[in-house]
Amino acid sequence: MNNRIQEKLEILADAAKYDVSCSSSGSKRKNTKDGLGNATGMGICHTYTQDGRCVSLLKILLTNHCIFDCAYCVSRRSNDVKRAAFTVQEVVDLTINFYKRNYIEGLFLSSGIFKDVDYTMERLVRIAKRLRLEHKFNGYIHLKAIPGASDELIHEAGLYADRLSVNLEIPSEMSLKKVAPEKDYASAYKPMNYLSETITGHKEEKKTIRSTPNFAPAGQSTQLVIGATPETDKNILELAGDLYQEQKLKRVYYSGYIPISDDHRLPALREAPLRRENRLYQADWLLRFYGFKVDEIVDDENPHLDPELDPKMGYALRHPEHFPIDVNKADYEWILRIPGVGVKSAKKIINARRFGQLRREHLKKIGVIWKRAKYFIISADRDFINLGFNPEVIRQQILYTGKRKKDPNQLDLFGNPLAPIPLIPTTPPPAGLSSPKIRTA
């Protein structure tokens, strides 16, 4: 019996892995005395894949049988892969047994579409329901809201799941039509809008009536595939900005397109655009935690993020008029905008300066990345390095001084020349924006 489950697990985990979301944070589900599990605000990565992605949830498809034929998807109808399907009980058993061994924070369940959308969605909901009601499971559950599913099913999903997601996948409708002719934006936005209204509604109601049931307490997210279609970073970030603003999404994930498909509708990429993906995550962080607006990060003159510099550095170099910033006087929002200063350092600066003027040494110890920050900061030492603020000079300095890593385009003597260049985390922590580990060339 175990062999059969093992084979299914292998097929259906393999098919689910291209969905990059694995977050288990942002929910607040308390456990009951006789229950199993909880979902606190902070997510936990229980292990990491050999490509450095967090493994927090049991991420599987219910089935990889699919009636659709989307070019970017491994499970597309026309692709010749092994197919499998779990039963409801099998998914429940795996989740419970992995969870109690502390392998996972919960379940992330998605599925290919078999028969029709509602039939599939109903199965996903049934699994969540059984976990919650029969097994008193209070760990994290992330379900896919399948475009085209009925409002009733989506609603029920929201009652049991912590997070729901509808993946837009392709960052413009025009491109979507080309690679997935059976899909359109309207059917993806419909459940998204329904969710966003219902989530907000429940939150409001909960303020006055405490017994209001939870509805997707960790909100909703989506994924955009990068590099499979011709959209610019500006297109992508504007779309993401709208999704955060209008649909109140908790997260937008960016997934560098991995050439899993020889489908002629897609470009033949030699390797995944991992660096571009990383820069987009950094820009996304600026939108969500650093108070930046999309048009401050990309504009018509710069529709693409600079691959060599992190987007905050890029912003600072394009806007010399705002710098240097005096860390002993400036507001928190402006301290956050200094390259090399992350959220934590900025907060420490605000706290520490109440006790006296901050000097360069204090800033270094607090965790400011001096190599990047020095061009943009005034401290009590008044030793702001005035290079006439020539952005080009600073750019060269940052790129070519200090630890130079070897040219990434150079082939490694012992490495596999076809392997992609190892890069930085796909989901960088906020501090990643100012991390010295970020490759600069």
Binding site: T47, Y48, D51, G52, R101, L274, A352, K365
Partner: protein, 251 residues
């Protein structure tokens, strides 16, 4: 003045109490068992007094709040050399200052303690992440750990909240004690025999190896070879934890 104490948390607080009472400054505070006498040094050995310890904590709480108490307790669990004297300096500074010094990052001791607390926090988080339970024949879930710092006292509550209806034990094989929970209450226990860094196969329930095998295949299959980045992998999952991580076992 050099102080010796019994190595316990209350012991250290008792030393701090005495230094105030004797109106003297400590230059060194070490557990009696690691103290190496120098030529001209005569240490004072302080007996642990819970009442004194409580009064010190009360004083710190008054000046720096609960967070101040947490800070020094967590740093104490780091077991780092000279952590005692850092904590001592912090308490001295805190008690003599007119305002709360907890966030005075200009002060070297304060900054150093916060850095240590961050390391502790990271290790606690790793325990939450890397603890792997194995089910025994009598239905108990057992996990073995040996963390860099003595973080078991800070790690158990998370599992009490998570598994209130299960019977489990997390055992620190390096420090020879464990957190045992029996569906009702938690206790620290020490096994009579030294626990190895693995659990004997005949202790485990039959399905245990099945689930371990399933988890190993899951781990393998969720990998995307096109994105392989072992440096990052090792940074997140340092090798010293592998021996307890089911997914990193060979075979």
């Amino acid at each position: 003045m050099i102080f010796c104490y019994d190595g316990s948390w209350n012991g250290l607080l008792s030393v701090i109490f005495e230094s105030f009472r004797l109106q003297t400054h400590a230059t060194k505070i070490v557990p009696t068992e690691v103290f190496q006498p120098g030529l001209f040094e005569a240490p004072i050995t302080i007996a642990t007094d819970e009442g004194h310890a409580k009064r010190v904590l009360k004083g710190v709480e008054k000046k720096c709040g609960k967070n101040g108490v947490d800070l020094i307790y967590q740093c104490f669990l780091s077991e780092l050399p000279e952590i005692e004297i850092k904590i001592y300096h912090f308490v001295r500074t805190a008690m003599s200052a007119t305002e709360n010094v907890l966030h005075n990052y200009r002060d070297e001791t304060v900054l150093a303690l916060h850095k240590i607390k961050k390391m502790i926090g990271r290790e606690v988080h790793r325990m939450h992440a890397f603890v792997r339970f194995q089910e025994t024949k009598d239905g108990m879930l057992v996990a073995l750990i040996n963390p860099d710092f003595n973080v078991l006292p800070l790690s158990g509550k998370h599992f009490v909240d998570r598994y209130p209806a299960l019977h489990w034990l997390i055992y620190d094989t390096k420090r020879h004690y464990g957190w045992h929970y029996d569906q009702h209450q938690s206790r620290f226990i020490t096994l009579t025999e030294r626990q190895h860094e693995y659990l004997a196969a005949d202790l485990l329930t039959d399905s245990e190896t099945d689930y371990q095998a399933l988890w190993q295949s899951y781990f393998k299959k969720t990998d995307i070879p096109e994105r392989r980045n072992m440096k990052l992998h090792l940074q997140h999952v340092p090798k010293r934890y592998w021996k307890f991580l089911v997914e990193k076992w060979e075979g």
